[in-house]
Each structure stands twice: as structure tokens, then as C-alpha cells.
Symmetry: C2
């Protein structure tokens, strides 16, 4: 018999020791001053005084910088703003109680000659549009590195939220033969190599179908796949990239973006879904305020206090109620549905708090949404509108009646989706949340291109 | 001032209450018998006795089933194997101490008529090749649902491992203008819609370049992008889909698969990288044995005890030593490098334990790998070989000398990658680990198509 517990204990103990020696990133040093005598990172600021030099060093592990005190005789020409350094020394507390490292040895690992084309300058707040021109270097700025830390934390909190509820993390596919009901905003995928295509070519196949045997697209949503797993394993979620081949440039659109999608098993009402979404959002906001307070303030001073709506219940309006409000406010729209201006007007109407819009006209929504029992012109759908971005979540109960779904199925290719209802079917509901828009709302980032490390949009796929 | 701690406390308290009421999945009920009086799930087995019916119900939250005791008068015709049910009743302990639910009300949510085309039968172990034909339904089998739970847990342990070390989770892009040095095994991406293409067409552009302004591919690795973030923010990792347009069908290859990649900042030696990889692998294996013991045993009885190598240090062989061993064993190869047979022979030589192969001939490896200081025909690269799959990890120290890298750069398109070395450069090393191969090794799954929910391979992209 293998004694699991004692082994795991021994194992963890062994590795904790080694971790303490090797991984003294600045975030860990600031949490526990006993674990490091070295510092590695980039010089963010340098103040030269008579006998001493004060260098603020950051290694990306947190927003905070570690102050290094360097005796003047250890200064070399290469020790400049932007250079990377390895410092050996002694940690101590400054008269003000701040942790600092008194250097005994300073090694410049990589110099940084600003005049040689480095685009950033010390003590300068470069505007986001300027920083965006230097995609490969922009993680070296305080602004973007704070955003990327927030993004990483939000991702962690999302996984923790679902894990605590025992949701299954499902890796839904990127490649799919589902063309999204012919909506026309998809990317298609082919092998690039002509030799591969030639070798695989058979009668009746063309370049579009030769590799997979069917035309293949980049996913626009993992929902249908999630529903398949949900109908065998219960509550599921997925967090990953999705794609839109729109020819639209805006501060809210990307060609590649992350979507969080979840499907709730045994979901009997839209209210059940709404409560879950509200809990999720509040959890992410509160946890991130806890883990990344300094980053949030650095991104936007407005973030220094949490939004008031975190302590209140989200409002709910029916689609018809929302239209009445917009008419009274004279924010009208010649097209169907809600446009961005109207969405933000509704958020404004709710004092800047997120608001659910429910019970949508059937013809504005997708085939898989469940009809309202008391009104078959409406579906059990919801949009959640939020400040800055408008729509941030879209969801619905799913049509669970086999015959009704069959009559609405847009393509034979989706027979597999229909068949999910044939055997041991369950009522489910689900939603999709745009990660980048969530970050915009949370951090007050006006341009979506600043919410992720490598944005892709029409005419731009650099790197 | 906002009183954060007390607010978070109140918030968590509030939600814990609601969680207890709503989320009584079977995994939670088995952990804490106080939290549920209802059960929802699928009937996995049904035994009819004189007065009582015993139904084993599973909801996908764990491998275990909850036994439901149903008085005969509550039985309906629809209550069969494969049907989904909602049970209200009272939890109690059986004479053997096992938790069971005595039903007071039984509702069949979705019937399952096996004769109407349901491919699975009760008390039958269907072979994986059979199950694979029913991709949309296969999460309803014990075999695949156990694998998907292990996959979800492994994913969680990976995130926890890096989070504990304060690594940044970076979402590297799927779309890239980097063609992977013209290796020819990439997929290219275009908008599917002819109208979009027409509207965006400009002089000198073709269909391949019109949307993004440059030819665009699906990523084969996030490494180069990770290196860009690593050189501003330190330790980073990414876990996500990668793609190969190979015309190869094997039990080890997929067209879309998940890769875990990490880049270690301030990485001075291959040994530092090896220790980190060994720690990662052992952590994942041990944690998963802890969280998914029942699933592992269900997938393969051989998994009932952990592999002996978990308690030993991984062996290391140089590439030259490995070749000598293979010559003595007469496992030879006319091509360069190691083939699968040789990889497995080396694992066998190490008593079935993972083994690092280091110091590879330069011409077998990529341009970005650092030359060995004492032998410029070799690079500081490693492969980790493991049972069942052979190569499971590939990694290296990265060339950090600007001029040497410049001389080896395969394309001007990678000038951004070169420029990372120009300003505040640091020594780094990194690796990629195939998630599906890890699952094969961990669980003893011979065909890689059974390690993920929706496998894609040449001639197959169903759903």
C-alpha cells in the first residue's frame, strides 16, 4: 500500500524548501521578507544622490517596486533606466518601514540605451495609443503590465469560482465544421502547404474540404459543444479564444477575443441563471480588488474605490420595459434590438449599475432559445448590460423540447445537437461573457485593444 | 473609506448560504451529507427487487454514484437506464455506512429509449473505438467522463502550480503572422465571406492577406510571444490550443491539441529548467492522484497505484550518451534525431521512468536555442521522454546574445523577436508540454483521441 498522505506531505515540504531559495520574485519578498537576498528585474527609476543611488526595481510579479540602495562605487554606466539587473545584498527596513535591499553586488544583465531606439522614457506616462505601436515591448510599461496582471488574476478567479462549484472545465474546440448558421462572420481554415493539399486531394474535394473532409471554421462560440458535455456530465464551462471575421473597427471589437461560456445543468428558470451570473461577476470584481488593488489604481485613479453596485442586487427589465424607457428618454433606434447608445442609456437609467434585459422578441434571438411559456413571441433570453461596454453577457434557457427544436433547426449538420434532446435530456441554460469587455468595465479601459497582450483586428495581426 | 475585509466576509457568507441550497451536486453531497435532499442526474444502473428499486445516479460531478432507494409505487415506465431524473427524498446511511437517498418523489426529466438508437447499454464496457463513433454522446459513458474529469483537474493543478509561484498566465494569440519558419505544417486563415473580402480588397492584396494585411496562420507555439512578455514581466506561462496541418494519422497526433508553455525569467542553466519541469510534473501527478483517484482507477486498473518514479529523481542523459545506449541495444535509426521506438527504448532503459535527453546537436534544433559554451555544435536543449508517448516536453535555454541571434534569424519578419534582446535583455529558458500526451502517460490511454472531448485529425472535424 502506498501511503499517499505522508508522501504528499514529504514531497511538498521538500519543494517548499527549494521554492524558497529559487523563486524570490519581488511579490514574494514583499509578502515575506525572509525569503530573498537577491533581486532580479528591470530598473524603473534611478535617483542619484551624493553617496548613494536609489533604484526602483520591478520584476513584473506585482505592481510594487523594490527600492535598491546602491553605494556609488557599485554604479556602472550600463546601470540605467530600462536595464535588467541582478542584485545581491541585504534586505532591511527603511526609517519609514519600507522594505529595501542594500546592494553588495550589482550586475547589469542587459543594458538599455534609450537613444538607440527604446520607445519609452522614465517618469513619463505614455498614452495607450503610443504604447500600442510597440506591441512587442509594451509589457515593459507600467500601464500594460498592470492590465496583464489583472487579466491573469481575473482568469484565476474565474477558474476558482467554477472549481468551488465543481463545474467541469471543458476545452471546447477551436476548429469546427459548424458555420454558425451561415452568419457569414466566420474565418475558414485550410492547410497552407500545397504539397499536403495535393497529397490529400480526392475526387469531389476542393481546397476548403480536403484536409478535414468538411469545410472547417474557427469557432464563434463553444456553446453547442458545451451543451453536449453538459448533457452527460452536468455543469460545465469553458474559457478560451473565439473569432469574428467582421470588417468592423471600434473600441469594442476584436477579431480574436476570449469568451467565458458556461452551461448550467438542471436549470429550470431564467432567474436561476441570473442569480448565478450576478454571483460570478461580483465574485470576480471583489476578488480582483483584493489581489490587484495597486494595479487597478495604477490603470485608472477612478478605480481606487469599488463601484457602488457591488453591494446591490442587479436590476432586471423586460425588453418591452426597456423600450418604453428608451422612448421616454428619446434614445431611439430605427433597427431592431438595442444599439450601443441605447444599452448605455439603460445602464445610466439604472444609476450606472449592471442591468439584465430579459424576455426578448423571438426573431431577434437564436433558434436554440426556449420560448416563454406565456408568450410564444418571446424567448427566455437575457443580456446583461454594464458601464463602458454595454452588453457584457448574453444567455438563455435552451429549447429542451425535441419536436419544437427540430422545427427550428437551421441545418441538417446540427442533427447531432438535436439528438442530445432524444436520450436522457435535461433542462439547461447558459451564457457567454466577453473577457475583454469585462476587463474594460472593471478597469475603465476605453479601448479593448489594451485588454490583452496581442490584439488582432482588421488590417492588424502583428507578431 | 471602503472597509474591504468586512465586506468581502459578508459577501462570502451570503453566497455560501445560497451555494449550499442550490448546488448540491453529488460530489458535494458525498463530501458533506448535510447539504442536499435532492438529487439530479442520470440513471447508470437499475436493480429491481421485490418492494424496492435501487438506482445508481450520477451527475458527472464525480466518478461515484449515489444510490437511490425507490419504493416500487414510485416507479414509472420512463425510469430506465440512461434517463435523467430529479429525486426528492431523505439522505441516510446504509447498514454498510454508504450514503443513500430514500426517494419520496421521482420525476423523470428526459426518458431514454435504448431501442430508439441510443448507442450505449447498461453493465457493458464499450471499447474506446466504439465510443469514439458517438462523439456528441460519449460524455455519457463512464470511460470518457472520467477522462474529462481528470483533464479538468489536471488543468486546475497546472494553474495552481504556476499561481503559487506567481507566474503570469498569458493568453498568447491563436492567430499569428509568424509562419513558423516556413515549416509547412501550418493552417492558414481567411474570412469565409466573399462580400467581406470584396469590401476590404485593395491594390496588391490577395485573399490570403486582405483581412489582416498579412498572411495569417494558426499558431504552432506561443513561445516567441511568451518571450516578449517574459522580457518585461518575468516568469510567464500559457495553456491553450495549438495546431499542426500534418497529414499524419497516429495514436499520438492531433491537428488541434493543447500545449502548456512556460518561460522562466533569469534562467541561467539547463539544470534550473530541468528541476522546474520535474517539480511541475510530479506536482500534477500527485495532486491528480489525490483529486481523481476513482477516475484514474476507472480508466485503467493499472492506475490503482502511483508510478514508482514519482519518488525518484529523473535521470538525465546527453544526446550522445543516448545514442551509445541505443547502439548497444541495437535500436537504430537511419534518420537524424530520435524516433518513437528509440524514445521508448530509452525510457525502458531507465526502468520506465521519465528521462531528460540534453545537449542536442545544433542542426537538429531551432534557431533560438543557446549554444553550449564548451561545444558550439551542441545546444542547451532538452527533451523529456516518458512512458507510452515518448517525448512529452521539449525545451531549451534561449539564445540571449543579440549578434549571435541576428546571424541565425530565419526571417526579417522576426525582427521584433531580435529586438527583445536589444533593451534590458535577460537570460531565459522555457519549454512546451503536450497536455494530451501528459494525459496519455498519466492515465495509460493508448489513443490520444480519447484524451479530449472533440478530437480533430486529418479527415475528421465532426461537430
Amino acid at each position: 500500500m502506498w501511503c499517499k498522505k505522508s508522501f504528499i506531505y514529504k514531497f511538498k515540504n521538500f519543494f517548499n524548501l527549494t521554492i524558497q531559495k529559487k523563486y524570490s520574485v519581488i511579490a514574494s519578498v514583499l509578502e515575506n521578507a525572509n525569503i530573498g537576498e537577491n533581486a532580479e528585474g528591470w530598473v524603473k527609476n534611478l535617483r542619484v544622490q551624493k553617496e548613494l543611488i536609489f533604484a526602483d526595481v520591478n520584476d513584473g510579479s506585482c505592481a510594487q517596486k523594490l527600492q535598491i540602495i546602491i553605494p556609488k562605487e557599485l554604479k556602472t554606466d550600463a546601470l540605467t533606466y530600462g536595464s535588467s539587473v541582478h542584485i545581491r545584498g541585504k534586505l532591511s527596513k527603511s526609517p519609514r518601514g519600507q522594505l529595501e535591499l542594500v546592494a553588495e553586488n550589482v550586475k547589469v544583465l542587459g543594458p538599455c540605451v534609450v537613444l538607440d531606439g527604446y520607445p519609452f522614457n522614465p517618469r513619463t506616462t505614455h498614452p495607450p495609443e503610443y504604447i500600442r505601436q510597440y506591441i512587442h515591448l509594451r509589457s515593459r510599461t507600467n500601464f500594460l503590465s498592470s492590465i496583464l496582471r489583472v487579466r491573469s488574476s481575473v482568469t484565476k478567479h474565474i477558474h476558482d469560482f467554477y472549481s468551488s462549484k465543481k463545474y467541469l472545465n471543458v476545452h471546447t474546440p477551436i476548429l469546427t465544421s459548424n458555420d454558425c448558421e451561415g452568419a457569414g462572420e466566420v474565418f475558414k481554415v485550410q492547410p497552407d502547404c500545397e504539397d499536403t493539399i495535393k497529397a490529400m486531394m480526392q475526387d469531389g474535394k476542393d481546397k476548403d474540404t480536403v484536409y478535414f473532409g468538411s469545410k472547417t471554421y474557427l469557432t464563434v462560440s463553444g456553446q453547442l459543444h458545451l451543451e453536449a458535455i453538459c448533457r452527460g456530465m452536468g455543469n460545465v464551462y469553458t474559457l478560451g479564444p473565439t473569432f469574428r471575421a467582421e470588417n468592423a473597427r471600434s473600441r469594442l471589437h476584436l477579431s480574436e477575443f476570449y469568451m467565458l461560456e458556461a452551461e448550467l445543468a438542471f436549470c429550470y428558470s431564467l432567474e436561476q441563471l441570473q442569480n448565478h451570473i450576478e454571483e460570478l461577476l461580483k465574485y470576480i470584481f471583489i476578488e480582483t480588488r483584493h489581489t490587484n488593488e495597486a494595479d487597478l489604481s495604477l490603470i485608472d485613479k477612478e478605480n481606487s474605490k469599488p463601484p457602488a453596485w457591488l453591494q446591490k442586487k442587479f436590476a432586471t427589465l423586460t425588453y418591452d420595459e426597456a423600450q418604453d424607457i428608451l422612448k421616454k428618454k428619446k434614445v431611439v433606434n430605427t433597427e431592431n434590438g438595442l444599439n450601443k447608445e441605447q444599452e448605455l442609456a439603460l445602464v445610466d437609467y439604472c444609476n450606472g449599475a449592471p442591468v439584465f434585459i430579459v424576455r426578448w422578441p423571438k426573431d431577434l434571438k437564436s433558434f436554440y432559445m426556449k420560448e416563454c411559456q406565456d408568450d410564444n413571441t418571446k424567448v427566455e433570453a437575457l443580456d446583461l448590460l454594464a458601464p463602458i461596454t454595454g452588453e457584457i453577457v448574453g444567455g438563455s434557457l435552451r429549447e429542451d423540447d425535441y419536436d419544437r427544436l427540430k422545427s427550428k433547426l437551421p441545418s441538417d449538420k446540427l442533427n447531432w445537437y438535436l439528438e442530445l434532446r432524444k436520450f436522457g435530456n435535461i433542462p439547461t441554460g447558459g451564457y457567454g461573457l466577453g473577457l475583454e469587455r469585462l476587463l474594460q468595465t472593471m478597469c475603465g479601459i476605453t479601448n479593448i485593444k489594451d485588454t490583452l497582450p496581442f490584439p488582432r483586428w482588421p488590417h492588424n495581426c502583428s507578431m
